[in-house]
Subunit: 224 residues, 2 copies
Amino acid sequence: MAKKILVVDDEERMRKLISDFLRKDGFQTVEACNGKEALDVFADDPFINLVILDVMMPEYDGWTVCREMRKLSMIPIIMLTARGEESDELFGFELGADEYISKPFSPQVLVARVHALLRRTLNRSTILKSFDGLEIDEGARYVIVDGQRLILSPKEFELLSYLAENEGRAISRDQILNAVWDYNYYGDSRTVDTHIKKLRLKLGDKGEYIQTVRGIGYRFEVKK
Amino acid sequence: MAKKILVVDDEERMRKLISDFLRKDGFQTVEACNGKEALDVFADDPFINLVILDVMMPEYDGWTVCREMRKLSMIPIIMLTARGEESDELFGFELGADEYISKPFSPQVLVARVHALLRRTLNRSTILKSFDGLEIDEGARYVIVDGQRLILSPKEFELLSYLAENEGRAISRDQILNAVWDYNYYGDSRTVDTHIKKLRLKLGDKGEYIQTVRGIGYRFEVKK
DNA sequence: GCAGTTGTTCACAAAATGGTCACAAATGCA
DNA sequence: TGCATTTGTGACCATTTTGTGAACAACTGC
């Protein structure tokens, strides 16, 4: 599966340039033209694997965006700055940036650094949803139960993800089928039950977070 | 089921651009080229899930349209403005807009915001009826009595929900049967009594909120 | 094509819910 | 007070819903 990279720069030419090179190299790209939008996009798309962040921007500069993203995840971040000032660089690392590239730079160098960073941070988590003893890493598509990494099948993962997304709400089987299966899925809604069973089994005692709502469907909720 | 989005802008190019991107992302779109038309379309089509509204328009500007729509419903509204003036933004929020995007913007950003907003408003829609010591959470589908969560059976929950919805009004058994049971339910209307009994039992002292109206049926009323 | 995994369906078990009934209690009325 | 009517209640059982294991189909990577 192609890695997805968020490119944040207020200059459109620079943004397009970077995106084009990355796409040519087989990456998917998403773009944002200021920090505010970057944070929005980032919060909304759990499948972003790496962020390239210009320092100088209107509406939240790169430092701010970097700090905010770090509150959410350990996603790899590369920062771009106009001048290669060392003090800036140190400041960036302090905030949690992984790489630091000063303009001007050759696109090849950028792509090479992206590859290197992705390799380096392969095992780093991109956990976006975290509950008591249960973490869901939507980027890497696995679940951590009491510190133990758990591999779920695609359907199981999507099902858990969907329920967790609607934490606290009762979700009908039909809703689940529409969201996790195709919207025009033609089949037995009891299939959901079977997957719920498997999920509960795999989640161990955290399986209790998936509650049955009689006559409706299921509800994800931490504790009781 | 695909969400339907109403796009309102007097510039045809902009309207088409936005529509195209939204459709490419799997949304349905409806278009209106001025405020008057927008309000007409909105009033006629109950299946619109979100509105994107340009501020500068002939025949009712965006502010007016926003205000009018808010009188009708809590539908999510995103406003577009030519310049990113903060005062405008504040004004927009005051009128009930949920999001505010200043031109120029990238279509991807717009789509991302639409996703984010739809998700936010989906979660916002948990309906909660609250009475003295008794809360009915229709989204989560449970009842809280004096801080203690209560598990009701489907029929019990719907029955209580229906009565609470008609707080202060006496409801006949037939009305209850039509609303909570199938409209063509064929059976003893005394069944309602049995369920009322069970409800009162489970609700404890809050069971007194369900009063008997002799010769008619029941009435939900707090205290007295 | 094969072995292993994943997804779906089915049948049966287990659990809970819903409906009916008979009788008790309460209410309204004369 | 006594009577007719309405409502409350507990028990019983049929029905519905959900859990579960197994069989089978579809898919995946080699």
